[in-house]
């Protein structure tokens, strides 16, 4: 098919408009600039050679990045799912290792509940958690919900993409924040769900004689695996120091149903943690992953970005409005709002500039607009003329906007010509075309 002239024209224009030549990548230089990451990578390799200990480190990793203990619990639960699965898988090759591995590979969601008992008083529940997690096609964590705690400590966390939403039920505190670092850490933690690598590790432990497994197929509803630690706790990888785990495996699906971890207490083995695997590959209600603040909640929204939402305003109207709001915020001494509108400047910086450097106080808005296109500030850049009254430290009033500023007594405000005024430059926020910011001129 012959290409139309318009196609050719568009190709040429795109080539002329978009084309850039990428610099040559210098890996040696990159290595010098990223020694920390290379060191971390090498340390991870060392860790992986010593098998599963990395699993239980996730808790401290997640704690360190400040996503809260609840996320750490999620990672921990996820790891345990794998470990449990591995037990069923590797402990008894006659039991169908390949099938179990395949079942784990197809994992798209898990629903797990954990109950933590006081080993000294097994009837006493000390804590509990419930996790709903969904995975994408490649097995990475797509989103999850965790409910944790009892009574006053109850809290809910929903994580999806780069956003964490957290609700502390007792105090009705609700927080939402972007946490890309947390996402990376959680992804890394969930990578431990890979049953293949985990199975290999488990196989190693069995081969090294550090775990012994007894299989009981007498039950109708499950196969019971009793996993005994054979070595000393010190020589076991983290997560395997308990002297006994009892694992129930579904004989049909080869997936775990439950895992009970027993610890020593006064010379007896007592139940400490119970992991109930409530569902695999379930389709969760999407509402599970939408955590909205309840009525009356104290909301801490840390995702509020820079700039002003455009709403239904035209570009030119938005350009004027962002300047108007900025000046009004300054008059109200609302430096947080002013900072968001002025390209995300910190409130303290603006306050310090006004109060300690310039020693001025915004008093009254006189005129703003109309906006005129300012292509040098970007494709949707605008220049917006302004005039407002301010007060200097000696109490003198000044109208700023006209060249050289002016004495209010000498100015007929009704005759101010926008074309003769100084202007503020504004444009949409890069990557957020529906939010507007001031980028200079005031």
């Amino acid at each position: 098919m012959k290409r139309s002239d318009d196609d050719t024209w568009l190709d040429d224009m795109l080539a002329g408009s978009v084309q850039q030549s990428t610099s040559t990548f210098d890996f040696d230089r990159w290595k010098l600039d990223h020694e920390g990451e290379i060191r971390q990578f090498e340390e991870q390799k060392q860790d992986s050679r010593t098998a599963l200990p990395r699993g239980l480190n996730i808790r401290s990793i997640v704690m360190r990045i400040g996503v809260s203990r609840i996320a750490a619990v999620a990672a921990l639960i996820a790891i345990v799912v794998v470990l449990g699965g591995v037990l069923a898988t590797k402990s008894n090759t006659a039991y169908g290792l390949e099938q179990t591995t395949l079942a784990n590979q197809g994992l798209r969601s898990v629903h797990v509940k954990t109950i933590e008992y006081n080993p000294a008083a097994t009837d006493t529940v000390e804590n509990q958690q419930e996790l709903w997690a969904e995975f994408d096609e490649s097995g990475g964590l797509a989103r999850m919900r965790i409910e944790e705690g009892l009574a006053d400590s109850a809290r809910v966390l929903v994580w999806e993409k780069d956003t964490v939403k957290l609700l502390r039920k007792a105090t009705a505190e609700y927080r939402v924040q972007h946490a890309p670092g947390a996402a990376n850490e959680m992804q890394r933690a969930v990578a431990l769900l890979d049953p293949r690598s985990a199975a290999e590790t488990m196989q190693d432990l069995v081969a090294k004689g550090k775990l012994g497994i007894a299989v009981d197929e007498s039950r109708k509803d499950a196969v019971q695996l009793t996993v005994e630690r054979l070595g000393s706790p010190e020589e076991m990888p983290a997560g395997w120091s308990a002297p006994r785990n009892v694992v129930l495996v579904d004989p049909q699906t080869r997936l775990l149903k439950q895992r009970d971890e027993y610890v020593e207490n006064n010379g007896e083995l007592r139940l400490h943690m119970q992991f109930q695997y409530l569902g695999y590959n379930e389709t969760f209600d999407p509402a599970m992953f939408v955590l909205a603040p309840p009525d009356g909640a104290k909301v801490d929204d840390r995702t509020v970005g820079v700039g002003m939402p455009q709403g239904n305003l035209t570009d030119a109207e938005a350009a004027v409005e962002v300047v108007r709001q900025y000046i009004q915020a300054k008059i109200a001494a609302d430096y947080a709002t002013a900072g968001r509108l002025y390209n995300g400047k910190p409130a303290e910086e603006l306050r310090d500039r006004d109060q300690n450097v310039l020693k001025i106080r915004y008093v009254r808005l006189i005129l703003v607009g109309p906006a005129t296109p300012s292509p040098h500030d970007g494709p949707r850049g605008y220049a917006v003329p302004f005039a407002f009254e301010l007060e200097t430290s000696d109490g003198k009033r000044v109208i700023t906007g006209p060249p050289g500023d002016a004495d209010p007594a000498q100015v007929d405000e009704s005759k101010l010509d926008p074309k003769s005024l100084r202007d503020v430059r504004v444009r949409p926020v890069p990557g957020q075309p529906d939010r507007w910011v001031i980028v200079g001129g005031i």
């Binding site: 224009m13 978009v18 990428t22 390799k45 490649s138 780069d162 890394r188 890979d194 970005g305």
Partner: protein, 178 residues
């Protein structure tokens, strides 16, 4: 096949050969930069984003489940890095030139209109257009980094260009040719 070679390099890197990772970086530097450019609209920031994406990829390489999918996996990291840079107020303040025109002293009105139209495309379409025309990237490389078939890329690119054509038509472009 490119993907098989990627897989070999990934396995080799995981085995401790950092130079294999370097080869992957060299291979994907241009596409990841282009992806970041589609978000940041700044060549230098986009190159920074690509380098940061490599750093994140290196420390997460062990979590890559299918080595042959290294390209798409890295692309998703690159997108996240670029978005982080957009969100990062400090960097944003330091990048006042983010939306400056590449040739501000002699702006070409048509190229400006085309860039505006590209900027107005949905993110995925914008990314594809930039990948194709930034550094004149081949379909094979786009296939490797997006993990899509050539036919799929063709279709998506065609749709993106139709959207562009419509947007430009509203601006009276292309100019009437007799």
């Amino acid at each position: 096949m490119l993907c098989e070679t990627d897989a070999v390099l990934v396995e080799s890197a995981l085995g401790g050969d950092i130079e294999s990772f370097g080869e992957l970086c060299r291979r994907y530097y241009a596409p990841i930069t282009a992806i970041a450019y589609s978000i940041l609209a700044d060549k230098h920031l986009a190159e920074d984003a690509a380098q940061e994406a490599f750093a994140r990829a290196l420390t997460s390489l062990g979590s890559l489940r299918r080595a042959a999918r290294f390209g798409p996996w890295l692309a998703s990291i690159g997108r996240n890095v670029a978005m982080d840079m957009v969100k990062d107020r400090t960097r944003y303040r330091d990048s006042a030139e983010l939306w400056e025109l590449p040739d501000r002293d002699s702006p070409d009105a048509i190229h400006l209109a085309v860039r505006c139209a590209v900027a107005g495309l949905p993110a995925a379409a914008r990314e594809l257009v930039v990948l194709r025309y930034y550094d004149n990237m081949s379909y094979d490389r786009i296939t490797a980094v997006l993990g899509l078939s050539r036919a799929s890329i063709n279709g998506r690119l065609r749709r993106a260009k139709r959207m562009l054509a419509r947007a430009l038509a509203r601006e009276g472009l292309p100019e009437a040719r007799s």
